[in-house]
Symmetry: C2
Subunit: 194 residues, 2 copies
Amino acid sequence: MSTKEKIMDAALTLFAENGYDGTSVEQIANIVGIKAPSLYKHYKGKEDILNALIDSAEERYEVMFGSEKNIGKVPQSREEFIKVTMERISFTMRDPIIRKTRMLFVQEQFRNERISEATTRHQLDGIQRMFAKIIKGMMDEGIVVKDDPKLLAAELTAPAVLQIARADRQPQCEKECMEYIEKHLRHFCKVYMR
Amino acid sequence: MSTKEKIMDAALTLFAENGYDGTSVEQIANIVGIKAPSLYKHYKGKEDILNALIDSAEERYEVMFGSEKNIGKVPQSREEFIKVTMERISFTMRDPIIRKTRMLFVQEQFRNERISEATTRHQLDGIQRMFAKIIKGMMDEGIVVKDDPKLLAAELTAPAVLQIARADRQPQCEKECMEYIEKHLRHFCKVYMR
DNA sequence: CATTATAGCTAATGTTCATTAGCCCGTCAA
DNA sequence: TTGACGGGCTAATGAACATTAGCTATAATG
């Protein structure tokens, strides 16, 4: 891993934990194993690092939600839908980089316009568009009752998003959150699936 | 309004907008109309102000969700339920103190244990317990289909909570958010109400 | 009227922080 | 061999910040 990448990595960890203002350039340099001034050989300043982190999050988002490739095939049964959905949610909840990015965005959303806008785009539009497509697929196959796919997607994902946010701030409740999400998912299936 | 209250008020506004670390004692004093050192006649320090704000938020929560008085009577029709629910949500979304407290809590949730714990208690437990009671009441009256009231409450409130969070960071979308919430609410009623 | 507490002020302190200046060493191309 | 450059270093700078010390005026209390 190059020094530039190490800086990004360390900054993301610290920003997520202590916030942007609560993190000093020296702390970042310490983790990387260099002195603070050396950091300026790689980035113009602290804000430049934040912008690089936002860029990188946007790229990741583009890869995950930009194309429709990663939706996979339409689940053919209730249990299959529950399984792949729980896997997807579990990954999103636990992946360290996604988790730290979420925590960073949550904290900076009111001061940084790019982050504010990206949060809405990722958390609401992206996820719901994805699930709307899956649900639409299942509607077409007759597995799910006919209804507005976007509304159903929002109902499906919103409780999960809130539980993920809870697990971010209270990691000791992670298991409980996942169970709660599964309960919701099963209830959703009971109501809307044949 | 006493100076002590003015300080709380100014601090809440600034903390919500710029975060705790992003706010200086001098900025708070400026809004109040005193010099920074005078502030220490009222509070031991910056953190003391934050703690007072948390105390005050907890008291407010206790008043709003502590007793069951403020649930009001069980709505007798779909339209009545929609009306009172939208009013409740609109108030929660727009009331300046509640809004700023929410924004402060969102930003500090990872660094302050009291806030972390309170966020879960207010955002998940409190709201859902309240709506579960209303829904339970309507189930008993036969207006809502028999089901787990807490699950239904979570499904009802989760999309609203996310839209309120969106309106907090993008106030220009407030109207859009409210319309979105009403759409969800009506869909919820279509699915679960007779 | 005397005294005491309250709540403001200015000046100062010590710390932390982001950033810059300028030096040095190793690598690699000309 | 030379020279340029990348990437590290130390030292320094200047600003911001939380907090303390100590003075003063006004209001409340005896």
